[in-house]
Symmetry: C2
Subunit: 516 residues, 2 copies
């Protein structure tokens, strides 16, 4: 296998599973297709119906064959039941060598593990966490996991890097002619934004619902002219309670509260926190605490922001309701309070994944962010951030909009504790790279704040004497002193089990199977 | 030139202007492309702006060249100023051989006549009325007028029969990043539905506005990820007063009121007028009167319909407000009362042209219509309907959604007076065909009602003894008796100046230059 080093020094094979890989060359310099993907034109004559009796009928109607590709959205997060349901059906039908293109694999999807082991599912394209991620790390899937950001996923679908045979949409409500929304019904999950590219670019689209409503459904998030089949099932497609996963509990840890507090201090010092401010935070507990500190400060100073983006949470919605933001742009709704807001507040606006973060459109919303607060499992001396692998080399997470918002936002803050357990988080080289350091401005830890010397905010932030500024090397040293040394290098085999794409489709890094 | 007769006996040349023509073969049997058009992928990096200083800058940025194609929507109808503005600019820039793809040409667009005569505009794809239509009839445009229905236009854009270089969108409000709606601003025009295919499938999209609003605009009808440039101009892009054209005044003519009344009688007799009824009417005065009679009847019988579609008018909105319909699907808003409704009433839903009427999607809304009331300039013994040409052969009108709704609806009623002036309207053969007779169920005139023997409602309606049923031949005879004979045959040359496409892209008819 021939390797080339990419811009961040990671060795990328020239080819993998008969696909040529393009090494990452820096933001804005990636591969670029000339034209969008052209999905099949379908035709539905007057009098024809779309209601099918079962998921199996829909799989047949969509003409899925061995080697085919199916997609899902994960707005139910750890409460999603549809992906499992469809995979069980595919297995029962004897199909094999199927590629899954969900917007995320969560813990709840552990049920599909046997299908990886049996060659029924041989490839996954998305962020993957928990049991399935672990299994892939241990070499249990035949082909490759391709880890993409939310914007990168939208791009890959719109430009045809991924051709979807059937998109399955878990539809909280849908009418018999296929008009879908996520804000009504007993299983309302809010925005369906990640499913928009699937609905618009798949070759066959199936809505599966527990709540079939009379035509025309209202509002219409995904419209009938893109939806080929409607399946009503009594088995729940999702549990809205599962939307709120553990990542969504606000931190009470004093260390993390200190980090959250300092994030707001950094934003203040940057000069961005003024009339028209725009903001996104990740879904971690520290990020939520930052949002709350930010709210208090904006209120006290009477600062009116432009938009908040999410992952829409109750915390963000309350800022909208308090007039601290003009609008929320919502690609994914994180709790039931925010679902109600999306239904009732016209200034809470549903957006699709391409409008949110696809770098190859006429303009995505992350481009307009002032500040993003993000997490990570590791950060290194080049400010590269790892979100997917643990220090021992196992894949444990996806990356959400990490890459997208980091490139888009003016000020990108990585908020992480210096240690996790006894393991240093600031390291020489991260195990694998999800977001290249060129997109990272500041790393905020409980023991100090490092500013990337390449950041446009470097001079400004270094003048802010109340900030506990350290170099990234100093942070690393402190972490190692506390932990008694750097983390052990992961033990891996020479088999590549996953690649991490940059949002433009170039390859940032590869991940090797761990040694048992 | 070689000709083939199509299914309705019209002689269609095999080729015209180097393009092969496919003769109409009957509904559902037309040409069918396998894949959608793949527009250019555009890329907008963080920090890049979309605001341009003038329409000229936008034309340059969109790289329009001689021979290029530009599109427009006509939601301002006879109050649209943008098409003229852009054409003046194109002429001033010295561009030539430009194809216009508006959703309609109205009287207000007479300003572009010199550009047809000078070869600056050499081809038009749309319904065309008034001065420009007349000029084309007299051979003043170099190449061809292609007359398409609203659904046919959406199809032609989505399947790439028409490739748009630049789509110009008259945007009542737009934010600096290109999010557009038509329901706010001093020049609100309501739905922007006809512009949806343009926005989604053009290779460059320009929003021109008088009301630039802060990001993010709300609601978002056309989203930023499709819009490349935003131009603010002080010159009005449109006058909402122009939306209400003469076609929209309710009739007071006793003859037309009789027709309207009998339309409702036919709908009642058909058995369709019950719970869940769906309805669309055209924009003519008789159709509006029908809507009002229908309202009174539904109210009196406590019938609750499913949806009304339009052309949304105050008459239709009041039925929604009275609970006579569950929802309005709105591709084009016809008066300011309906604009306010679209802004404020969540059950008044904006839909795009493909969702409305594109026959080659996963399912368009006309497929779900129970009844449509339509007009026409002529109808013939085969129930073919002419909407585009007058009896003297001159092109005077487009066809809107005539073809689409006629094919989609269960019951298609043509409501026309037997004479217009002294000219019989029921004739042996219409001058040109916009809607083939196979899609027409009933012709309602002030002197009798003819039911198409091919109609599924033939037996039912013939049993309704209170209806003044006559054969179409009888209606023709009465008309000729009143007029003193059949209309004169139009005098034409042998040059084809226009073709009428069926909604699937096959050719229904051709129109010849009139002899001076």
């Amino acid at each position: 296998m021939k390797f080339t080093a990419n811009k961040i020094g990671r060795k990328i094979p020239e080819e993998l599973f008969e696909k040529k890989l393009i090494p990452f060359q820096g933001k804005g310099k990636g591969p670029y297709k000339v034209r969008k993907y052209a999905p099949k034109i379908r035709m539905r004559r007057p009098g024809e119906q779309k209601i099918l009796g079962s998921i199996r009928e829909a799989i047949k109607a969509g003409e899925l064959t061995d080697g085919g590709t199916i997609s899902f959205h994960h707005h139910f997060r750890n409460g999603d039941f549809l992906l499992n349901m469809v995979c069980h059906e595919i297995a029962a039908m004897g199909l094999k060598d199927i590629r899954l293109v969900p917007s995320s694999i969560q813990g709840v999807h552990k049920e599909i593990l046997p299908y990886l082991e049996k060659g029924i599912i041989t490839e996954i394209n998305c962020g993957t966490s928990s049991v399935i991620a672990d299994a892939i790390s241990h070499g249990k899937m035949e082909r490759l996991l391709t880890i993409r950001s939310h914007g990168g996923r939208a791009r890959s679908i719109e430009n045809g890097d991924v051709e979807i045979d059937i998109a399955f949409i878990a539809a909280p409500t849908v009418d018999p002619y296929g008009n879908i929304n996520g804000v009504r019904g007993k299983n309302a999950c809010g925005s369906l934004g990640y499913a928009f590219p699937d609905a618009h670019f798949a070759n066959y689209v199936v809505a599966v619902t527990n709540d079939l409503v009379p035509f025309p459904n209202n509002p219409i998030s995904i419209s009938q002219d893109h939806v080929d089949a409607v399946v009503k099932t009594d088995k729940p497609i999702g549990d809205p309670k599962g939307i709120v996963s553990t990542t969504l509990r606000i931190t009470r840890d004093p260390k993390n509260l200190k980090i959250a507090h300092d994030c707001v201090e950094v934003i203040k010092a940057s000069g961005l926190l003024k009339e028209g401010f725009s903001y996104q935070s990740g879904a971690g507990g520290t990020a939520l605490a930052t949002t709350n500190f930010l709210r208090d400060y904006m209120k006290s100073k009477n600062i009116k922001g432009s938009f908040g983006m999410g992952g829409a949470t109750e915390a963000l919605v309350r800022m909208l309701e308090d007039g601290l933001f003009e609008a929320i742009l919502d690609v994914q709704t994180f709790d039931t309070y925010a679902v109600q807001s999306l239904l009732n507040n016209p200034r809470h606006i549903e957006i699709g994944a391409s409008q949110y973060a696809n770098p190859q459109t006429s303009g995505c919303a992350v481009n307009l962010l002032d500040t993003i607060i993000l997490g990570g499992t590791e950060v290194d001396l080049n400010f590269n951030v790892n979100t997917s692998t643990e220090s021992d080399g196992r894949i444990q997470w996806g990356m959400g909009g990490h890459q997208d918002t980091a490139e888009g936002a003016k000020l990108t803050i990585i908020a992480i504790p210096l240690l996790r357990g006894r393991i240093p988080i600031v390291v020489d080289n991260v195990v694998s790279v999800n977001t290249p350091g060129e997109n990272v401005d500041v790393v905020v830890t409980e023991r100090g704040i490092a500013v990337n010397p390449e950041s446009a905010f470097y001079d400004t932030l270094l003048k802010a004497k109340h900030l506990n500024i350290k170099t990234i090397e100093e942070l690393k040293r402190i972490a190692e002193d506390l932990a008694g040394g750097p983390p052990n290098q992961p033990k891996t085999t020479d088999r590549i089990v996953a690649i991490i794409e940059y949002r433009d489709g170039s390859v940032l890094d590869v991940i090797y199977q761990v040694a048992d």
